[in-house]
Symmetry: none
Subunit: 215 residues, 4 copies
DNA sequence: CATGAATGAGATTTCATTCAT
DNA sequence: CATGAATGAAATCTCATTCAT
């Protein structure tokens, strides 16, 4: 019976419901995402939920989709710009944007991610993962010299997945043992090292460094 | 009023309950970890759960504790041996053991970890994290020359957290884009590179690399 | 989260629940006042109880409140009339009304009172007590000559409390040793004697009596 | 299966169980009188309860019986002495003894009486009532001149029942409006007036007590 | 005899879903 | 369309009772 929203108002209601779901999930945990509570926060009657969703499961799914979509949308527009940066700067830019995204609205998305796996089957951040893969591909297209690195797929896999989770984990910590900037620097360094070669800089200023220099 | 188990039989029952909880969580997801189902799988009556646990929440907590304890116990005994290996070999050894641990009992722990965050407050793998930190510390004590690396705490943080999650994520994938061995190699390489210096091993001594140094 | 009833229908449901509770308590005793049974007798679903009450305890409280309110309401309207009667007649009128109240609906209230103390904390008939106190006060205002009696507060206390309970006790007896009329007469006489009869008889006409005079 | 206690030790255990029941009831209310709690307080295992009682109901019954027996036993030995006192003094003596009985052991019996009606069918204080009736009878035998009072049975009924309850009610109040002594004096006065004081005071000094009779 | 672990019937409570208004 | 009262299936939890040790 739930109809596709055809009017403007209806679309707004659907968005309000999904928003409410995310707000409740973030603030009160998965056990609180009851239909009553979601309807309450959305400012509508319980019965109205079923005008737009088949059942609670569908609302959960919409919440997960929304999070994935929003996360991907936060990064995707940056790609054209990122591919023109150094590996290190591009990494830092992505990390900073990720932090901003996760912490907006009082950490709503950050909190939600914890619980997403319990709401629906499947990995909620697949869309984000795809965007980051796309970024890597585009970057390599523009910088073919890097593509010689061995283990490229594995390295990329580790950077994307390890990166996503390490950031989430760090932002979730109440008393992080290191600052976010330190974390970001370390991650960006690692990406730069491993993709570009030689850890020489480590112990010696080294000479040139070719195109690797930032900006 | 759950009493401390006083007889031998009672201890076995407690273990059976926690086991059953993990089995159900792994196989049927968090929504299935009802008291009824756990009791059923444990082969006891529902009432018996409450002889040993205050409420369902307490059972969940015990499950989380158990997973953390088991995970730590899988790695800790290896430490003395690991510190005598090369960084790369030690990393590989840990990764292999982690895989074995996560995949035992038909991936019970692997599946459980997905849902742990939704069951209780707090990070369920803190114990594992601690063990890995300890390993890092011990390793650096035996290899003081590495301690000169900059960003040591941040690097360690990234390796531990990123490593844990990347492995979990990989093992959870139905159709992984890379093999576990490739992943492990990549991770071990990264640790070795970043901790030990010079990406020389890659394909060549590598000339440039220059200003890639952080900060 | 039980909401205040907003529609007419809802108010009727609340009343039906409390009614059902009193009916079950009267007929089947306190052990039978389960949520299931109350819902059944009220002709609603179990879940509906929780639309209006937080828990079973709240229903019990509402039952007690209802009984107190009804009892008070049975007597209060009589006050204007009572204060114009003689002490004896007023007492008899109150006693007759009390009996009628307690015996209506097949003795529902009478039976309930037995069990009220076990349902909630506090004295369920406080409201009735208050009304009777008010009656006494109003009466004394109109009949100031009585106010000279010594021990007025204590006497009033005894009449009200002793009177309430004696009536309840009598009506509860299966084979009363005296009739209700005899009881009522005796009580009314006592009130009349003690309040009105001046205590003259005590030391005066009374031949014997000796040390019986107060203080 | 529960055997009659034949050994000394067994009798002590039975007493301990009943004691424990009364203690729990007094301190924690009727909902707490579970078999576990009673066994715990009695210092025995749950299973042992069933060595001496058929079921929980039987324990409750024993508790009620015990209270009735103890209450009666508190008053009965005083009868020979009481019948030689004045009405007023005898009344006061009984009231003081009642208070002492109800308040002993931190008000154990007082608290229990509140809940007794919900534990078993029947009036738990019948034994006390009987003792007081017996006292009245004995008193009238020794003081035949009083027996002329009209309404004697009704008066006695009121005094006994109203007296018992008024005292219980008063002792149960947290902030009594009058002191126990005031209450006792008032009650004793009333008894003395009504039994002894000739009813003359009613409408006139009157001659006899005769015409005061109702109707 | 005494115990306490185990039980399961039954109690309370929650909540997704329906449907009359 | 929107509502929220009503529902009942299913969850959590309690506790009198049994019985192997």
């Amino acid at each position: 019976m739930p109809r596709k929203p055809q009017q403007e108002r209806a679309k707004a209601t659907v968005a309000a419901i999904v928003d409410a779901g995310l707000i409740v999930l973030a603030r009160e945990g998965p056990a609180a995402t009851t239909t009553r509570r979601i309807a309450e926060v959305a400012g509508i009657g319980v019965g109205s939920l079923y005008e737009y969703f088949d059942n609670r499961e569908a609302i959960h799914q919409a919440m997960v989709d929304r999070l994935g979509t929003d996360a991907a949308a936060a990064i995707r527009p940056m790609i054209p710009e990122l591919v023109r940066m150094s590996v290190r700067d591009a990494s830092l830019a992505v990390l900073r944007r990720a932090r901003q995204f996760l912490e907006q609205d009082e950490g709503r998305y950050l909190h939600c991610i914890r619980y997403m796996t319990s709401l629906v089957r499947g990995f909620p951040l697949r869309a984000l993962q795809s965007v980051l893969s796309e970024l890597a591909t585009q970057y390599l297209i523009r910088h073919p010299e890097m593509a010689r690195a061995r283990n490229l797929p594995a390295m990329t896999y580790v950077f994307i997945n390890g990166g996503i989770y390490t950031v989430i984990r760090h932002l979730s910590e109440e008393v992080p043992s290191i600052s976010f900037d330190e974390l970001a620097q370390a991650l960006a360094d690692m990406v730069a090292f491993c993709m570009q070669g030689s850890l020489a800089p480590l112990d010696a200023p080294a000479a040139a460094g070719g195109d690797v220099r930032p900006r």
